[in-house]
Symmetry: C2
Subunit: 249 residues, 2 copies
Amino acid sequence: MTYCVGVLVEEGLVMVADTRTNAGLDDISTYRKLHHFTVPGERVMMLASAGNLSITQSVLSLLQEGVPGEGDEPTQKLVEAPTMFQAAQLIGRAIRRVRTIEKDGFEAANIRFSISLLFGGQIGTGEMRLYLIYSAGNFIECSMDAPFLQIGEHKYGKPILDRAVTYRTDLYDALKVSLVSMDSTMRSNLGVGLPIDIAVARRNALTLEVNHRIEAGEGYFHDLRERWSAALRAAHRAIPRPPYGPSEK
Amino acid sequence: MTYCVGVLVEEGLVMVADTRTNAGLDDISTYRKLHHFTVPGERVMMLASAGNLSITQSVLSLLQEGVPGEGDEPTQKLVEAPTMFQAAQLIGRAIRRVRTIEKDGFEAANIRFSISLLFGGQIGTGEMRLYLIYSAGNFIECSMDAPFLQIGEHKYGKPILDRAVTYRTDLYDALKVSLVSMDSTMRSNLGVGLPIDIAVARRNALTLEVNHRIEAGEGYFHDLRERWSAALRAAHRAIPRPPYGPSEK
């Protein structure tokens, strides 16, 4: 399993992704799922992946080496895309390309063609964007009303995002809430685990402000988990006892 | 969608279920999903359902009118089962019976035969039990290590249960945490909604101590939702800012 979340607030973009990959519960490895394509001063782009590892790796390789054009389009690399929208289209094209190549083999082996991607960033003077790209190569864009997108095992970590993140949320508060969301997911699903990759890009900076891997045992994240657990325990203790049942209770 | 949770602690059993049923987002109704079969002083049994409404209603009717035996077994009603284990087996038999009747029609209409049930309670001097019964009629039992079971849209509300419920949790604290879990689910999934049915049975009391429907606007639940939201906001605000990024941040 996988859990990745991207948050696009007024000040910039945060992305957080776990690194656990499994082919069955007894075959678990660590793979980077959060990648970046950065040309400082020109563009900053982050890409987080969920789904079949072979597909995501092939898509990434195509984006680095160049995605062959459909029809009379030229081959293009992700770092050459002129806008974030066209970059998202290029990623969709790369997914369709891999599907064309792998389709028969996947069908023969009865494997589902599954990939989903979070793609966010900024190119030049264009707007900062965050997209969720599906297996079919189509994509949706994050809105100011719900300024986050998730892929993978997303349900456990959604309640805190629904409550705590708005477009006006401070950039590093957005990172903090994303880490709480990741913690909730890790706690309830063993398929999502440390280390965690995080990246932060401030709007119009056109570079990564944070590009860090949180390893097991790292003090801040350990402290965040402890504090969050303690706060949740205190929070439900502070709620009055339900008024139902025998009156002496 | 549906969300139901059952918690079996040292002092007794709690069950909480929403009532929203939908056939598409534009056809939403309220149906009771939490049922009880109680003979005070002899037995107390609660049954919560998720899945196809026609199947759950047929299973319930069979359990009330009598489930025809398989082979040379006699027809039996749920209130006649001598132990909780045999009662769970009888529910499994009722599911298989409905499947036998509906199978061809479901296949012709390409509808999946989907039902899951939480079944808990106590009969006479037997142990209090909580089971999760699947579409195939097989079932698992709740353990002291993880003293809760969920059906339906279960992921949003699992993190708080994972953190806050143990076998030693007070009976009404278990109810309170179940309501918080329901609140998290309702907040993140529109398919789960008020009113909410709740039931509580104290161990060895052989009767329902609480059997109540929480309607929209009910003060306690409204207050619980407000307090929980405020506590979560305060909790993530109290966590220090992440130490990553520019030092002046």
